[in-house]
Amino acid sequence: MDRILFGDNQFFAVNHISDEKSRAQSIKFKEDKAILRTLDYAIEAGIDTFMCTTHDRIANICEAIRNDPEKYKNFKIFPCMPYAHKYANAVTELGVMGALKEYVPGNFFGSLFKGGMAYLSKDYLSIMELMVDAEMKMFKGINTPAIFLQNVITDLLLGLGMIDVLKAFHNYVEKKYNAEAGFITMNLPMLLNALEKVGIENPIICASINKVGFRMSGGKESYIEVLKTKKVRAIAMQVLAAGAIPPKQAIEYVCSLPNIESILFGASSKTNIFETASLIHSFDEKFSAKEVVSN
């Protein structure tokens, strides 16, 4: 994985601290070309991986990427699925079964209702596989070396103890898409423990990792312990803790931690993208120089 991954929250009005900022972002990124222009800034800043949710509008972005193979030849996307609000709102409106009927593609539920429970119970995991396929359709022809499960699903399954489903996701994206599975979570130590128990070694896990311990469930210390002692390919997200930490301090802290393979951030303006990327590079240099000295 690249050292820096570019996120997409800013494009879809996901702002963890302010509804007003969310609305401003909605307006700013109303047109797809505003998103594409911002991706151009990221590429210009040397960032070649876009980590994004499977929001409907990403399909248009993918189309633009496919139409300009030369420009995007090194460009990679890490899809994160599902776009949870789509399903959550559908469940509220239509109920669990109604939402499944709406979103599971093909004739699956037609045959389910004909065949009854016996037919279905053989293979719930194939529902999961069909849903993954449905979400992956928009990325056809695009390099997607890692595919992620969103934290709301990862953590729901983690709490329910349904780790076999996480394992099935892991195996399926590897088999079908020749991609590595990644898991986004707000509970890194607990998740890693559970994944190790079902034999998933050195998994890619994307979690909140920041100086103030925001959304680091179980406590910052337990995260640091995991990073120091366990085998995990960690992606740090929410490094600014939704704006609670000044950028320089925030990046310095994350760059100083061991075993963080990548840093994920999103930004709306060219200046912020360039500044954050350059902070990461300069602190990486500083800490790698230190390592050389201490070795």
């Binding site: 879809f12 302010s18 959304r215």
Partner: protein, 337 residues
């Protein structure tokens, strides 16, 4: 270990179940649902024992407490049964369909001396807790006016076929969305005791309200506005907010951001004259397991701690949720008359 059973593994139920499953002091001893699919999935992939009959679960599974996350119309009957068995109860909101049903349960829970809680999770959101602290400390002075609001994208087209579309099951924007705001006003300011007028409008739904607007009067004499609409697709998810005007300043607060204006330097520690902005990142309490928001874990944790006797059973108990039911009924009556 506290042994917990859960009835209703729908949207809220499954979220509670996951939080309970991850809780170090909880053993999930039974899950009841009417859906064969849900029970089958749980059987195949989790270690929870499934039941299709809740009465069987509460008699057979050795439970200390039960979570009830079924449509509101079943609350009265099921919660009564659970209380009769002397078990602690966490019920989803809104509490009951009628004031009478709620009153019976409040009285029964007191007689049985069990822990009782309802899922109004906003009281566990850091920003709203801070508003309560500022108001209780008198830092806003005399309260002049308030506006309680909630908007979200639940029903944004004319197609709906579940219990939320059925008024007799507890569906509708007043029951589902506005109840949160009413409960928050009751808690932060003072109990709502009068309704000066109300509108319930349907935009897409055939049988239930999609929005509620009302003028409310508090026991303290203060009046204010309620404005709630679940058919607003410009919101990505539910957004609840409260604005309070007082003689010493003003508060604008939602679940993420708290903005406070103080007229003078007579303000709490950490604040100064003029505008102050605090974020949930500064105010939230850390949790051991996170799913969808700290408040969901914190409310479950509070319930478990109340059973263990380490916190009082004061926040979101049946009685406070019953006050919210009473306001829902006042609004309905105001429209009928």
């Amino acid at each position: 270990m506290i042994k917990v059973g859960l009835i209703g593994a729908g949207k809220m139920g499954i979220s509670h179940l996951s939080i309970l499953g991850a809780h170090p002091d909880v053993e999930v001893a039974g899950v009841c649902d009417t859906s064969k699919l849900v029970l089958d999935v749980l059987k195949k992939y989790s270690s929870f024992k499934g039941y299709d009959d809740y009465e069987e679960m509460i008699t057979k599974a050795d439970l200390d407490a039960v979570f009830v996350a079924v449509p509101t119309k079943f609350h009265a009957k099921m919660v009564k049964k659970i209380l009769d068995h002397g078990k602690h109860v966490f019920a989803e909101k809104p509490f009951c369909l009628t004031v009478e049903e709620g009153q019976d349960l409040v009285e029964l829970s007191k007689r049985k001396k069990v822990i009782n809680q309802v899922g109004y999770h906003n009281k566990f959101v850091g920003t709203f807790q801070e508003v309560k602290r500022i108001i209780d400390g008198g830092y806003l002075g005399d309260i002049f006016h308030f506006t309680g609001e909630a908007y979200g994208p639940v029903v944004v087209r004319a197609k709906q076929n579940n219990w939320r579309a059925d008024p007799s099951e507890g569906g509708g924007c007043l029951m589902d969305y506005a109840s949160h705001v009413i409960d928050l006003i009751n808690y932060i300011l003072a109990p709502i005791t009068g309704v000066k007028g109300a509108l319930m409008k349907s935009f897409y739904s055939k049988n239930v309200d999609d929005s509620v607007f009302s003028l409310l009067q508090l026991s303290s004499g203060v009046s204010g506005v309620l404005s709630v609409n679940w058919s607003d697709e410009t919101y990505r998810k539910m957004s609840t907010s409260i604005t309070i005007n007082g003689s010493k300043g003003k508060i604008i607060c939602d679940a993420n951001e708290l903005k406070v204006y103080f007229k003078t330097s007579d303000c709490p520690e950490g604040y100064t004259k003029d505008w102050n902005v605090k974020y949930v990142t500064d105010l939230t309490q850390p949790v051991d397991f996170y799913l969808r928001g700290e408040e969901y874990s914190l409310q479950v944790d509070y319930f478990i701690k109340a059973i263990q006797g380490t916190v009082p059973n004061t926040i979101n108990n049946f009685e406070s949720a019953w006050h919210t039911d009473k306001v829902i009924s006042l609004i309905k009556n105001s429209i009928k008359n």
